[in-house]
Amino acid sequence: MSLKKEVYQAFEDIVGSDYISDEPAILNSYRFHWLAEFLNPERKRITPVSAEAVLLPATVEEVQAIVKICNKYGVKMKPVGGGWGAWNAVLNEGAVQLDLKRMDRILDLDEKNMFAVVEPYVMGAELQAEAMKKGLNCHLIGAGGVCSVIATSACFLGASPNGMYMSHGPDNLLAVEWVTPTGEVVRTGSRGCGKGWFCSEGPGPSMRGVIRGHAGTLGSFGVVTKIGIKLHPWPGPAAYPIAGKVPAYTTSLPGNFRAHTVQFPSEQAIADSLYKIYDARIGYVIHRQFNFYGDELQGAMIKIFSDSSLSLDNLEEVLADAEVQKLTQEMKRAYQIVLAGNSIGDIAWQENALDEILAETGGKKVAALDTPFWEQFTLHFLLKLSTKNTNFLYTGSFLGIMGPVGSPDSIVPTIQPGEEINRKYMSQEKGRIANTGANAFMGTLGYLGGGSCAYQEQFFFHDPADKTSVEQGLEAVFEAGVVVAQNKWPPSPYSGYFLTPFLPRPVQDMAYGMDPQPQAYVWQGQIREIFDPNNIGEKGYTYLEKKK
């Protein structure tokens, strides 16, 4: 199905002929996404449908005009920023893709009031670099610095290793400029009354929940074209120091920064420590990061990442090293914590507090990683989040299961079932899931409001170029979903659950219906009907069909 000529012309009149295309080579390049292999019946990494056209608007006025044309002609649309994940793609026939690449400016960075104003294609790494020059830092989503700041705060999820200090992505959202699904431009909060970008609330009801919905609306509910975003203190150098040789970059931060890998005798002890850390209000970053590579491989993997002469090809030989084996054992049931002090006294206090917490919970610092070299490596990994696409190193893909968000105690019961599922798929005959060790739980351990709750996801690695591998991955996702439902754990927005908006409507209704609070999804559906009466929003909006 092609766009009618007059519709294409209407779009071209808005953006100009250089910035619209329906050429197959262009269109097809927007179909390749992480997890597209799960949505494609042939299990290839390409979405089942193509956009009819791709447009590159440059201004909010152009976006507004495009949305109005979509409403006039009943054309669905999906905006995309950085675009990492299948939810960014057009998944409906007859839809257009709005690539927001030309909207890439940082419009303001207010040092005194600690906020910035950004457009959709400003990536976290760019904002962070600019903010650090002013003694500030910004929230970076767990997927790292190559993600759009707007996408990660206004449109999708928002968990972060620096959530401990900077809270959840949407908590950092200030005023918003939003093109509604019908093409109105709404400016919320202080911006809406002409007072700048510093406040997200008012006048009238907060619009943040409407715009974001549950875990973000994944580009299916209008277009956010500018936001004010909170910035946070950065007690480090204005020019972030890089050391080491590519690809093994590291840093050389001063002594008011410390980083530790702390190990515990059990998952419960991990949970116990987190409550104490929340109460003590220490930690700039707290994340179960390295375990992502699998509890049997994490020691070897950080060794490889830290040495520019090594690569994944050297994995088996590195694993055979006795020191690495010892390190691997010591890293099991562990997480990473970064402390950033505003003074020598402050960092000393935080260190003492951490030591007390560890003593009270049976934890200990992994001695082999408590060296200057490994501290700087860990600091760099977690502060910059510049290598989070190593998630794809093993096989080219991965996905998480389990992954509820909640109090640390509530996560503990999900760990063993997650390990069992991974173990099953890793060890079965003809297993096509990477054998990384049964426990590959990763998660951000400080979340809403900084501290207060956590989430952990069990990761597995399938190969998108291997059909059997993709099928086994899907089986694992559904199996985990059944376990979650049977135990009445809340479905996680971070696990296979974020594929749910793209599955058939009956499956979505079943999934959201299992949530302990299904009414929230009904309301969301009603909001959607009000704001998007012509249904131009593409797939990605999470809602429950209201029962008649």
């Binding site: 992480w34 794809f392 093993y394």
Partner: protein, 427 residues
Amino acid sequence: MALIDYRDDMQRCSRCSSCKFIPLAQIKSNRFSSGCPSIEWGKFHAYSASGRFNVAFSLLEGLIPYSDRLLDIVYQCPVCGSCDVSCKISTQLEPLDMALELRAKLVEDGQLLPQHMPLIDTLRKEDTLFTGKIKNNRGNWAEGLKVKDLTTEKGEVLFHAGCRYCFDEELWGVARASISLLKGAGVDVGILGKDESCCGGRAYEMGYQGEFIKFAESNIEAWKKAGVKTVVTGCSDGYYAFNYLYPAKSGKKPNVEVLHITQFMDRLIRAGRIKPVNSVPLKVTYHDPCHLGRMGEPYIPWTGKRAQIRNIINVFDPPKPKRRGTNGVYDEPRNVLKSIPDLSLVEMERIREYAWCCGSGGGVKESYPDLALWTARERIEEAKATGAEAIVTACPWCERNFRDAIAVTGDKLQVYDVVELLHKAVI
């Protein structure tokens, strides 16, 4: 490897978009965060390395036809390797090699970019891509230098000028200065003059692998006949061709040491054979040529195969040497600059393995001059932001493109080659 050999990797690209930026850890500003001239120019995702993975897969699967737009997508790219460095921070994919094989497939399938035709025609007839030039004039740049003719005499060191230095009269001074410095240092240097041929590197980058192999074989034979132990060139493209493409892609390893002129000069300065004594009071910034820097790593032979360990983790067995920009030629040109009295060197934001390209490479200068000039203008802006009075480079293609860009903008920024400044300091 042929394009089909990258098919599985095409699906393993996750579309993280790292290829569009310099390594994230190295980003110092919003203004100079991008690493890829192609995506910044073309804007649509297809113009990125990830996009070309997608285009290549779509072609192999028969999902898209050949088209003029497809050719633009493939060729509006200077194959500068920035995407390769950024991607390989975290993966084992090969965006650059895949892009080059995609070009080779287009040529093999007869999908030829019209702008390339005159270049290839001249290459076949006159041993150079420079249209309107003839081989007989190739040695004119060296007139009056009294440099050894290695077609009739033996020598230790062969200076390969390269097509740009041979046929761009405005840049002859750099090649002449190179010879002057080498001779002054007592180096037994000679040239092939009109019998010198193109390195073939640009032809390889444009997808004409067969042509490239002919030049590789011919040049290696010529060096053997001349009996030289060392081949030194002032052209970074030539350095890349001799140092890497010849052993890696032609199947023929030159039995000589290959050096870039800055490497040789650095050596001679350290040995005390070149003494920079004259003051050159200038504030400069150094532009790392892609083919000398991140693509200037030596070739390490490897024979092995793909393997899967631990069920499905994709590796190479035995471990395959990785070209990630780690061991490119970055320090020697800087060492030479730092040896010049009163010259001060300030660095741009994007340097070394994550330098922004000048825009000349991959056939872009000839085929898409607007893109080439735009890319150079971006680099000029970055150089100006340092407060430098001059941008210095180590490649005639970079120098030419910067000069052309400045001629359009009227900027006051001066453009030099490292050798030019060293020459001022010595003679």
